[in-house]
């Protein structure tokens, strides 16, 4: 059989010619994945010639893979031909097998593109998701309340070991970083305030300002933010990883309550340690302030602390410390709830850990704002 190339084949992938047995398409060379774009373009340009093909010849085909076979069958179909009705000649057995397999699976292969809704649809989805989150938190709070009530009834069921482990991780582990950060903030705050206050010659009043700021806002807030980033993220990652490896299900199956075993020890540990850390933060913040006051403003350590005793009401210190357990509860609930809502894949752990940190920071600052509104006075 002889074939003559026609202008209808702009590429060297095939040519179409009239032979003794009808119009014959002769496949040439390499029909593999990396040449697919060129073959696709060539077939697209010869669509009209393709429609008349009756015979397909594979004698000069060197290589064929499933992608090539799929593309060819697709173009034949687009040209209005049924690949099953054509005569396929001189194809080696393996190519015939492949073509048969590809043809049989062609019907099932359709390109599905994910649906993307309109803006209103998106808004609706976000809103609904927000409501679901809200409900999830309420349900989780309910479970925690139930576990707490259970603990009051049966104190022996409390997990002491886990509690002390968390106490150490959340409290002792955070001591150096909390002390260092608040010391530095004390230094910076006093330095900047001192520059202004010197202009008025009101050096001694630095004690009033720094004492109030550290005890009421800086120490509780900074400590809570540090612990939220440090322990909140850890809670979510720990519980989330346990969820992925089905440990949570195992706990439940063994007749234990995951809330009892995992959440209560963390919740109590963080609620106890955060006020203690805040106290440490108060001390180190004031030490930093006293250091700068001594160096920059010529206020001796003795003067600083005796003035502090006069002007800083104990009420303010207590108020600052009282905020800590509330921050702590919010951090523990958000972190543990996110840990439990991790789904069983790797990406989910990271996603929920991020969400924990963001929501912990937001809620700590919101709670702080609520405190400021509820207790606006400096002294009772």
């Amino acid at each position: 059989m002889t074939h003559t190339p026609t202008p209808s084949s702009p590429d060297d992938a095939f040519h179409i010619a009239a032979g003794q047995e009808g119009v014959c398409l002769c496949m040439l060379g390499d029909w593999r994945l990396d040449r697919l774009p060129r073959i696709d373009a060539a077939l697209g340009q010869s669509r009209q010639a393709l429609a008349g093909v009756q015979v397909v010849d594979g004698s000069r085909l060197e290589a064929l893979d499933t992608a090539g076979a799929m593309l060819f069958c697709q173009h034949l179909k687009d040209a209005g031909l049924d690949p099953g009705q054509l005569r396929w000649q001189q194809f080696p057995q393996r190519h015939q097998d492949m073509l048969a397999l590809v043809r049989s699976r062609m019907q099932e292969s359709t390109v599905v593109t994910p649906a993307r809704g309109s803006l209103m649809h998106q808004l609706g989805v976000w809103g609904a998701r927000g409501l679901v989150y809200g409900r999830d938190y309420l349900v989780f709070l309910g479970h925690v309340g139930e576990a707490l009530a259970d603990w009051v009834r049966r104190p022996a069921a409390f997990r002491h070991r886990e509690f002390f482990v968390q106490l150490e991780a959340v409290g002792v582990g955070a001591l150096p970083i909390v002390a260092m950060m608040t010391f530095l903030i004390g230094v910076v705050f006093t330095y900047l305030l001192g520059i202004q206050i010197e202009k008025f010659g009101a050096n001694i009043f630095i004690v009033d300002g720094v004492g109030l700021a550290v005890a009421r806002e800086l120490a509780p807030l900074l400590t809570a933010l540090l612990v939220a980033g440090r322990s909140g993220a850890a809670f979510t990652a720990q519980i989330g990883a346990m969820k992925v490896t089905e440990e949570i299900d195992a706990i439940r199956t063994l007749g234990l309550s995951p809330i009892q075993v995992l959440v209560l020890p963390r919740l109590l540990a963080i609620m106890i340690t955060l006020p203690l850390l805040t106290f440490v933060a108060n001390i180190s913040g004031l030490l930093g302030a006293a250091l700068v006051a001594d160096v920059q403003l010529d206020i001796t350590w003795y003067t600083f602390f005796s003035r502090l005793q006069d002007v800083l009401p104990l009420y303010t210190v207590w108020l600052g410390l009282a905020k800590a357990p509330v921050f702590a509860a919010a951090i523990a609930i958000i972190a543990c709830q996110n840990g439990f809502s991790v789904s069983r894949d790797a990406r989910s752990v990271g996603e929920h850990t991020t969400r924990t940190v963001v929501w912990c920071l937001v809620s700590v600052i919101l709670i702080d704002a609520l405190f400021a509104i509820a207790f606006p006075k400096i002294a009772p």
Partner: protein, 253 residues
């Protein structure tokens, strides 16, 4: 005879101070399905991972498509990597991408296809692996074990590999899905001419679809050949292995 696809020679592996393989060797000819069997902890998966260049053996030689992969540079190794596909035990689908995008990853990295063409190739691969079109937009976490394996197979087949490595392809599947998966693999390998090396514990797979069995025991290959020959080999471990399963099988097939 055609050139061998994979040659493993005298491979020695030491893991954690323990000698896992003590001179393992075999050769794969094109177009056959070969299974590596052996007890748990005999290093089947480790050997498989050495063949695909994820672990470096302490000694010996591994040649893929005639190239010594232990002395290849990273770029040459990447070219070799495009010629084989791997199906990991748990599928190892990327959890942040949906099924279609998972299959599209190798195509996007290594081929010049346009998006439209790529989408069609992906749809084809999914159909070849026996997945319904709706599965394309699902996330891996929404798939059942069998569907995950199929999606992972579609990804392994994306670059039209000449050689497929399968790590326990039927583990975690129910017997019906497992047999379907076997049939699918057999069909694909026969019609696409792919060579397969798998590790398995599944005796039904061995009897049903495997051309050749290599038995690893105590760090060495103790038997190598068609299933019925290997099953007759006079060795304690092999006898126990085949009879333990046979008793559980009732009256055979």
């Amino acid at each position: 005879m055609t050139a061998p696809i994979l040659e493993v020679e005298n491979v020695v592996t030491e893991l954690g101070g323990r000698r896992l393989h003590n001179g393992v060797g075999f050769t794969l000819q094109p177009g056959r399905i070969t299974a590596l069997i052996g007890g748990s902890g005999t290093g089947k998966t480790v050997l498989l991972r050495e063949c695909i260049g994820l672990i470096r053996p302490a000694g010996g030689q591994i040649r893929l498509f005639g190239q010594d992969i232990l002395s290849l540079g990273p770029r040459a190794m990447n070219r070799v990597r495009q010629r084989f596909g791997v199906l990991f035990q748990e599928g190892a689908l990327f959890s942040s991408l949906n099924v279609a995008d998972n299959v599209a990853v190798p195509l996007r990295e290594h081929t010049p296809l346009s998006k439209a063409l790529r989408d069609r190739v992906v749809a084809m691969k999914l159909a070849l692996a026996g997945l319904p079109p709706e599965a394309a937009t699902k996330m891996p976490s929404e798939l059942s074990g069998g569907m995950k394996k199929r999606a992972a197979l579609a990804r392994a087949l994306a670059l039209e590999p000449e050689l497929l490595f399968l790590d326990e392809p039927t583990s975690g599947l129910d017997p019906i899905s497992a047999r379907e998966f076997d049939t699918l693999l057999r069909t694909l390998c026969d019609s696409l001419g792919i060579t397969v090396l798998m590790t398995t514990h599944d005796l039904d797979t061995l009897w049903g679809m495997v051309d050749r069995v290599i038995v690893l025991h105590a760090g060495q290959v103790i038997a190598d050949g068609p299933v019925d020959e290997v099953a007759r080999v006079d060795n304690d471990w092999i006898r126990t292995y085949f009879s333990a399963h046979a008793e559980g099988r009732g009256h055979g097939i």
